[in-house]
Every structure is written in C-alpha cells, then in structure tokens.
Symmetry: C2
Subunit: 317 residues, 2 copies
C-alpha cells in the first residue's frame, strides 16, 4: 500500500492506495505553519490515513508528498513555499527516518496533474497511458502540469507548464512576478482578490456574484478570469498540443459558472478564426470533479514510481 | 546513404547524408509551382544530389522531404501548401514509385527542428540525444518545432509548437488567422511586409534600415518583431521548458541586428521580474548559422528513422 499526501495552505489531504490501485483510506488534517509543523503534519497524516485504511505502518511501501513551492524531486527538498511559512525544508530527509518508509516529494501541481491523469484514465476506462493532458491549476496562483503517455513532463529546468507567468496583454495589470498582463495577474485567485479588495471568505465567488448583480469592477475582473484561463488553454494546446486540458484548484469551485465563461471566450476566438475553430478547444477543456483526490492520489503515484528501486520492487515483488 | 530535401517557396535544398552521418553532397534547385511541378522538382533534386555525392540511385536507402503546409507524416500527404501552389498532394505516393526508394514527408519546420538539433549536438559534441530544443522558424509565418531527447514532439493533433497563433496583445494588429496580436502578426515576415507596404525585395531588412534612419512606422514594426520573438521564446520555455530556443528562417538573415533587439527585449523583462531573470532566457536563445542545411538534413533523418522497418534495417543491416 502507498500513501499520498497533498499538503495545502490550510488542509492536508491524505489517501492510501491499495495494490489494486483503489483508494482504501482518506483523511484530512489541518496543515501546521512553518517547517517544523509541516513535518509534524506529514507524520500525523501518514499515521492517521494508515489507521483509516485499517493498516499498520509496516504495510506502507512508500509515501509521496505534493507540496507548493519549488521542489527538488531528486532530493525531496522544498523551497519558497510562502503559503506554508517554509523558506527551505529538507522534507524527505526529515520525514523518512521518522516513518521508516521511502519518501518522495513533488510540486503539488505536478502531483495533481499525475493524479488527474490517472483518475481520468480510470473513469474513461483508458488504462495507464492514454495520450496527453495538461492539468491547469487555478488557485491563488496559476500553473499547469503536463502528462504525456502517463509520464510527468518535467522540462529542462523545472518550469514546464508555468503558463501563469506568460504575458497576454502588455496593458494588463501588474503581476506579482513584475511583468504586466500575465495569465496569473488576470486569472489567479490571489491577484483577483487583491484587485477586488473587499473582505470576504471567497473573493472570487463574491466577484462572480457581484458581476451578476451588475457591479462594473466585478464584471471586468470576471471577464479577465475567463480571458486568462482561455489564453492558458490556447497556449497549452498550441505549444504542447495536449489532448485535453483539465481545470482544477480552488477557483474551479465555481464549477459551471466558470466553465460557461471560459467556453464563451473560446467560442469567440473560434468565431473570429478558422484556425482556432479547427482546434475544437471547447471540446478539449474539462473540469476536475469537486472534492477529487487528484493531488493526494498523484502524490501516492509519485511516491511509488519515482524511485527506480521502488519501481523494480513493485514490478517484481 | 540517405537523401533529405527541403522544398521551399523558391528553392529546394537537397543533401546526401552518408552512413557516418556526414553531408556527402548538396545541391539547390528552383522549386516548381503546383503539385505536378513539385513532384518533378523532388525527383530531379534526388537525382542531382545523388550525382553530386558521386552515388547511384540504387545506393540511396531513403528519401525524406520537408515541405510547408499541413503534412500527414503517416501517409506522406500534403495539404494547404499555399506558397507552393499546392492544395492537396499525395507526395510520397507519387514520388516513391518514380524513385524506387522509401519516401517520408514531414512539415518543413518540424524537419528543420530535427536537423538543427542534430547539427547543434554535432557542433557541441553532445551526441544524438542531448536534452531539449525548440526551433523557432521566423519566415513568412512563425512556428516552432520541439525536439526532446532527439525525438520530434508531434503532439496530440499536430499543433505542437504552433506558437505563431498565440495572441500576446488584444490591442495588437489583426492576424491572417483572424485573431488580434498573434506572435505571427507582430513577428512574421509576411505580416510585417504587408504592414510596411512599400516595394522591396527584403521588406524586413528595409524595415530595420528605415528604423535605424529614424522612420517612425519602421521603428514600431521593428519593435513588434522583437516583442513577438521574445514572447515566443518565453512561451516555449515556460510551457515546454526546452533547454534552448534556436532561431531560424528567412528573417534571421538579419543576424546580430535581430538578436540584439530580441536580447534587449528579454533583458527588459528580466529587469522587471526576478522570476523571468531566474530563467536566464538571454543565454538560452541561439541563432541558426546562415546557410545551415538544417531543414534538408532533418528531412534526411526523418526519411531514415520515421519508418520502423527502415529503422530496424539501419540498426541490424
């Protein structure tokens, strides 16, 4: 059995995947703040989810952790996870001895991409390697993970899928990265909340509601979200040419309201351009189902497959 | 020995590659207009280049053809090659019986990408599989080919690398594709010539000269070229995360003048954004040497490797 963890800014989602590939246990814990508390959260989550699956820690073959920030997948080191209060944390090295299990760490969006790919393949009965997919994460920030034939596309220097910081409008709003009109400056939950500037627990939802009620600022922000997401979809398909783009992350809690806006934006460019129309983009965008364990599941897959020794053990053992 | 052809709008470049991988012959012919004349040009070019290499047609193991337009690499069929007067041409099926050799056809930019990758690997002593590269072709249009570990990235539906039709400015000029502010509308030789609108054999060169002389229209057009090329580089690196982007195509005849503009544009975004600075984009852009046989060489490689039977024959024969 393998454990997968998705360490988020507020909650840590943990699953146990059994040898048949099914989810045998799932728990959610509140994520601690700062390196020391993150380590505690991870250890507690592994124990808790093993118990939930009715398993003993000795029955766990591997632990995979998806976590925001810059992750060195080779060493399991995490840097610049600002939403977690982590500047630099040797996560795998700290956690593995406490658990007595091999631990792999990956960027959370990349892990979610792998999990979303596996879930989609399973749901459609497509098997483990069924073409290509980009998982576009719409959270505080915007980034994508690309999976081709079941393998994560990591790129040359770890920036594959960083479409959030491509500028699509030189006259657009200033992005936290320093450029103007980045996809993230238009469609990132953090950027939208900041420009909206009013209190509220779910600023992007408030923006959608206020836009429906006729608020001009909200309408502009809402149009920008659709524009940013549609541009990211076009960029992913015209550059990496993936079969399908799956949208996930906090902003997708808006569900059909978001999808309707994005579809309208894609339909507008298809109406203007025979070339864009030939790409059939509207048919190639999907929404990750709400509450999907994609990120934790993907982390479990990374824990199991990323280590050649583990892979061999799984294949022959 | 293998023959590779690059069928261009005015000239067809042909090379013979010997069994050691070296270029043993090279000729250039004027390309005929329309399907029938294209077939004649191809057959004549194969004969001429074989003679140039001191070889008999019976010594040629394969022929690869790079050609503009929409190419079905499986069948060797070409569609919408407007600059060649070809609407639909079953090129491989027409030419193969006349030559008595296996013929493979590929889009010219994809072929050039593979050739540029091989040439770069050879020049740097890196071997056949040395990481990832995008070849960004700046000709009448703008498109890229992506090569990862020596393999062409074809994508799910044949649009991998079509960065020319990504909009980077909603207020930008109308593109021939129907969208506004596409990379190609800013940096494509055809779009620039059209907006420049004055007679001349090399409109983009005229634009650079006129900009140096202070012409305001020319300065704007020239700034747009740099902006379009720099954006394409950012898109390729932030999406596919290739090691390096190699610029080729007619517009690169401008050489250092073009590179200086593009570098300045990349330096400006690096100055504004620590994230962009961390990507070191300026160090990751190169110019294909003038007169390089990249496209014809790439076609020869495609002729040899694209067919599993041929590959087996090459490996075991």
């Amino acid at each position: 059995m393998r454990v997968g963890l998705d360490v988020g800014g507020t909650k840590t989602d943990a699953v146990v995947v059994d040898d048949a590939g099914d989810i045998a246990g799932r728990v959610r814990l509140t994520t601690g703040w700062g390196g020391e508390q993150i380590v505690r959260t991870v250890v507690a989550a592994v124990h808790a989810v093993a118990t939930d699956a009715g398993a003993d820690l000795s029955q766990i073959d591997s632990v995979g952790i998806g976590i925001p920030g810059q992750v060195d997948a080779e060493t399991g080191r995490v840097a610049h996870a600002v939403n977690l209060g982590v500047d630099d944390l040797d996560l795998a090295a700290e956690v593995a001895p406490m658990l007595g299990v091999a631990v792999r760490v990956e960027n959370d969006v990349k892990a979610a991409a792998l999990g979303a790919y596996a879930l989609r393949g399973h749901a459609l009965g497509l098997g483990l390697r069924h073409g290509s997919m980009a998982y576009l994460n719409l959270g505080t920030g915007v980034a994508a993970g690309i999976v081709i034939d079941g393998e994560l596309s990591r790129g040359a220097r770890g920036t594959a899928g960083e479409v959030g910081h491509i500028s699509i409008d030189p006259a657009g709003p200033l992005c936290r990265c320093g450029q103007h009109g980045c996809v993230e400056a238009l469609a990132g939950g953090g950027a939208v909340a900041q420009r909206w500037g009013r209190p509220g627990r779910f600023p992007v939802l408030d923006v959608f509601d206020a836009a429906d009620a006729g608020d001009e600022t909200a309408r502009e922000l809402r149009a920008g979200i659709a524009r940013g997401v549609a541009s990211a979809v076009r960029i992913l398909i015209l550059t990496a040419d993936v079969d399908v783009v799956v949208l996930g992350g906090g902003v997708t809690a808006l569900g059909d309201r978001l999808m309707a806006d994005v579809s309208a934006e894609l339909a507008a460019s298809a109406a203007a351009s025979p070339f864009m129309r030939s790409l059939r983009l509207e048919e190639r965008v999907e929404l990750l189902p709400a509450g999907s364990p994609a990120a934790a599941l993907g982390a479990a897959l990374i824990g199991a497959t990323n280590d050649p020794h583990t892979e061999e053990a799984l294949t022959h053992g």
